[in-house]
C-alpha cells in the first residue's frame, strides 16, 4: 500500500506541471488585465505602466510563467512564494493560509452532518422502497436537490437570522468574542445548514440507489436463508457493501466541496477560501486565482488517491 501511494504521488508530478501550464496561460491570455479598472482620465498611463512593471506583467508570458512556477514551490518557507495580491498587496500565501481553518470548519461540519443524516435516510428509503416514508423522502430530497444553494442560503438567513433573530446574519465571530467556541458554532449554524441540506439531498439518493442494488444481491438472499433477523441482514450484510461506492464517490467529491462552499461563504460572509476565490476572480487578482487553480488541482489528485485508498480499505477484493 505504501509503495502504491508513493507511486501514485510520483505519477502526480507531471499532472501538476500540466495543470500549472494550462492554468497560467488561460488566466494570462484572457483579454484585459487587473489594472483595467484603474484606467480613467484621472490616472495617467505612466502610473498603470508602472504598476504592470511592479507585478511583472510587462514581461513575455513564458518568462512570467517560469518565474512564477519556480518560485511557487518554495511556499513552505517563503510567504512571498505565491506573489502578492493585486487587490491589497498582501502575500498571496498568507491570505490563503489564513482562511484554510474557516473553510475546514465549515466544510468539515457540513460533511459530517451530511453523512450522519444522508446514510440513514438512504437506507430507510431503500429498505422501505415505495412506502409512504420513501415517497416523502423522495419529494423532500428532490426539492432539496433542485434548490440553488445561494437561494437556500438567502432564505435561511432571511427566516432564521432576520425574522426570528435566532442566528447571526453573517461572519464567523461576534466582534470582541474571537476564539469563543460557542460563538463560532452559533455563527456556523446557518451556513453549515445550507450546505448540509443540499448535500443530504444528493447523498441520500446515492445511498438509496446503492442500497437497493445490494439488497437484490444473491448474498443477501443467502443471509436471509440463514435465518438472520432483517436488522442484521441490512446493517451487517447489506450496509458494508452499499458503502463501497459511496466511500469512493466521497473521496472524488472532496475537491468540489471547495467550490460548493464558495457560494455559501459569500452569502454569509464566512471568511473562507471559497469566498476569497470568488472575489479574486471578479477582481482579476491573477496571483490569487492561480494559487487557487493549483490548490484545486492538488485536491483533485489527493481526492482521487484518497478514493482509491478508501476503496481498498472497505473492499477486501481490492489490493494494491
Amino acid at each position: 500500500m505504501a509503495r502504491y501511494v508513493v507511486r501514485r504521488l510520483i505519477q502526480a508530478i507531471p499532472i501538476i506541471v500540466g495543470i500549472s501550464i494550462i492554468a497560467f496561460f488561460i488566466v494570462y491570455s484572457a483579454p484585459g488585465d487587473p489594472f483595467d479598472r484603474f484606467r480613467s482620465n484621472k490616472v495617467s498611463p505612466e502610473v498603470i505602466a508602472n504598476l504592470r512593471r511592479v507585478y511583472g506583467l510587462d514581461q513575455p508570458l513564458p518568462i512570467q510563467f517560469v518565474k512564477w512556477f519556480t518560485a511557487f514551490w518554495s511556499f513552505p518557507f517563503d510567504n512571498t512564494a505565491w506573489g502578492f495580491s493585486i487587490t491589497d498587496g498582501l502575500p498571496v500565501r498568507d491570505k490563503i493560509f489564513e482562511r484554510i481553518p474557516s473553510t475546514l470548519q465549515l466544510m468539515g461540519t457540513s460533511l459530517i452532518l451530511t453523512i450522519i443524516i444522508a446514510i440513514p435516510v438512504g437506507i430507510l428509503g431503500a429498505v422501505k422502497q415505495y412506502s409512504i416514508a420513501d415517497k416523502v423522502i423522495a419529494v423532500i430530497t428532490t426539492i432539496g436537490y433542485a434548490l440553488p444553494t445561494f437561494w437556500l442560503g438567502i432564505i435561511l438567513r432571511q427566516i432564521f437570522a432576520q425574522q426570528l433573530d435566532l442566528f447571526p446574519l453573517f461572519g464567523k465571530y461576534t466582534f470582541g468574542k474571537e476564539g469563543d467556541i460557542l460563538d463560532l458554532l452559533w455563527h456556523l449554524a446557518l451556513p453549515a445548514m445550507t450546505i448540509t441540506i443540499v448535500g443530504v439531498a444528493g447523498w441520500s439518493r446515492y445511498m438509496r440507489a446503492s442500497m437497493l442494488e445490494v439488497l437484490r444481491a444473491d448474498y443477501i438472499r443467502t443471509a436471509k436463508a440463514k435465518g438472520l433477523a432483517s436488522s442484521r441482514v441490512i446493517f451487517k450484510h447489506a450496509l458494508r457493501n452499499a458503502l463501497i461506492p459511496i466511500v469512493t464517490l466521497l473521496g472524488l467529491t472532496i475537491p468540489t466541496l471547495l467550490a460548493g462552499a464558495a457560494i455559501t461563504e459569500a452569502v454569509f460572509s464566512w471568511p473562507g477560501l471559497g469566498y476569497l476565490g470568488v472575489s479574486a476572480v471578479t477582481e482579476r487578482d491573477y496571483p490569487v486565482v492561480l494559487a487557487f487553480a493549483m490548490i484545486g488541482g492538488a485536491m483533485v489528485i489527493i481526492g482521487n488517491l484518497l478514493a482509491d485508498i478508501l476503496y481498498a480499505v472497505v473492499d477486501p477484493r481490492i489490493k494494491y
Partner: protein, 353 residues
C-alpha cells in the same frame, strides 16, 4: 381442491401451493397449484425447463418470496408445523436451522466483504446459541468435512479468493452446519464445470448418508436426477405435470413433456445423429394458453386438450397431468358430448383439480 394421496412419514408436505407475482403487466402465476411431499431421509428431484417455477417453489418453502410476489394459496407443512402460519420470528428459526438452502450461483451467493469462515460461523452461533469463537472452530471443522484442504487458512479467506467449486463447498458447509432436517439445493451444480459437478454430487451423497437428511434437489439435468433422486417431480409452467419414483419416471414416463425431456438426454453408445428437442418455447406466463399448457408443443395433442387436464393417478404413486390413458393411448372420444362425459369422469378420478 381434492387432496393428493397422503403418504405416511412425510417431512415436507406442500399442498395446492400458489405463488403469484403481481407485476405491472399482469399476474404471473409462477407456481400455480403445486403439491408434493418429501419423506424423511428421501431425496426428491424437481425438474423442468427454465422458468417453470422450481426456484419460486423452493423460495416459497423458505418464505423468502419478495414483492411483488406473494403466496396466495396452499399449505406448506414441515413435520407437524404449518410453515405458512408461523410468525416471522418463528420462521427465522426454521430458516438455516430445520431447513437450509443452497443456491445456484456460488460465485455471488457469498458476501464478498466477509471471510468465508465468519459467514458459516454466523449461522452456527445464531441457531446453536454458542459463542463466536466456538462457532468459528465449528466452521473450520465443517469446511474440512466438505473436503476443503487447509480449512483453517481457507476460513480466513474471502470468497473471491476461492474457486467456484470451493465456494459451493463453503455454501454446503454453511447449509449443513446446523444439521438441517431438509436441505433445499437449487441447481447446486449448474454453474460448475463437469468434474467439479461430479465432486459436489459425491459430496452431497456422502453427507446425506451421514446426516440422514431429506433433500429437495432442483435441477434441469436429468443425469443428476438419475444419480441422486428417489422420487421425481416434473414441473411445467408453474404446475406439476408428472411425479413418481425415479425408476418409473425414467422407464415408463407418461406425460409427453417428460418423454420429451428424456429424449433430449444424449446417451452413450446410442447412434443418433440429432438429439431430439422439445419443439417451441415455454408459454408466456402472462398469456397462458387455454386448456393444457403443453398442448402447443405436444406431439400427441388432441381436441380434448383444450380442456385443462387434471393431475390423475395412472398407477399407484404415479401421477400425470395428461388426457392420455394410463397405457398412453388417446382417450376414445368421438363427439363433443362424449368429451364432456369423459371430462366429468376424469374429474371424478382427479387427484387435484
Amino acid at each position: 381442491m381434492t387432496q393428493r394421496p397422503t403418504r405416511t412419514g412425510e417431512l415436507l408436505s406442500i399442498d395446492g401451493l400458489k405463488t403469484h407475482f403481481y407485476t405491472q403487466d399482469g399476474v404471473v402465476k409462477a407456481v400455480d397449484g403445486v403439491s408434493f411431499g418429501i419423506r424423511n431421509g428421501e431425496t426428491l428431484g424437481v425438474v423442468g425447463e427454465s422458468g417453470c417455477g422450481k426456484s419460486i417453489t423452493a423460495l416459497s418453502v423458505m418464505r423468502l418470496i419478495e414483492r411483488p410476489g406473494r403466496i396466495v394459496a396452499g399449505s406448506i407443512r414441515l413435520a407437524d408445523r404449518d410453515l405458512l402460519a408461523l410468525s416471522d420470528e418463528e420462521m427465522r428459526d426454521v430458516r438455516g436451522n430445520a431447513i437450509s438452502m443452497i443456491f445456484q450461483e456460488p460465485m455471488t451467493s457469498l458476501n464478498p466483504v466477509y471471510p468465508c469462515g465468519d459467514q458459516i460461523a454466523e449461522a452456527i452461533s445464531l441457531h446453536e446459541g454458542i459463542h463466536r469463537r466456538e462457532a468459528g472452530d465449528r466452521a473450520i471443522e465443517m469446511l474440512s468435512q466438505v473436503g476443503i484442504p487447509d480449512a483453517k487458512r481457507r476460513a480466513r479467506e474471502y470468497p473471491h479468493q476461492l474457486s467456484g467449486g470451493m465456494r459451493q463447498r463453503v455454501m454446503i458447509a454453511m447449509a449443513l452446519s446446523t444439521n438441517p432436517e431438509l436441505l433445499i439445493a437449487d441447481e447446486p451444480t449448474t454453474a460448475l464445470d463437469v468434474t467439479i459437478q461430479a465432486q459436489i454430487l459425491e459430496l452431497m451423497k456422502a453427507l446425506r448418508e451421514r446426516n440422514r437428511m431429506a433433500i429437495m434437489l432442483i435441477t434441469h439435468d436429468l443425469g443428476v436426477i438419475a444419480e441422486m433422486a428417489d422420487d421425481v417431480v416434473v414441473m411445467y409452467s408453474g404446475k406439476v405435470v408428472e411425479s413418481s419414483d425415479v425408476n418409473t419416471v425414467f422407464e415408463q414416463p407418461h406425460h409427453p413433456y417428460t418423454k420429451g425431456l428424456l429424449a433430449s438426454i444424449p446417451r452413450l453408445g446410442e447412434k443418433r445423429h440429432r438429439l431430439e428437442v422439445i419443439q417451441g418455447v415455454v408459454p408466456n406466463p402472462l398469456n397462458l394458453p387455454k386448456g393444457c399448457l403443453f398442448k402447443r408443443r405436444c406431439p400427441s395433442a388432441m381436441p380434448v386438450c383444450d380442456t385443462p387436464p387434471p393431475l390423475q393417478e395412472i398407477q399407484p404413486g404415479h401421477l400425470s397431468r395428461c388426457w392420455l390413458t394410463p397405457a398412453g393411448e388417446p382417450p376414445e372420444i368421438g363427439a363433443d358430448a362424449e368429451a364432456e362425459t369423459a371430462v366429468a369422469a376424469a374429474a371424478a378420478l382427479t387427484v387435484e383439480a
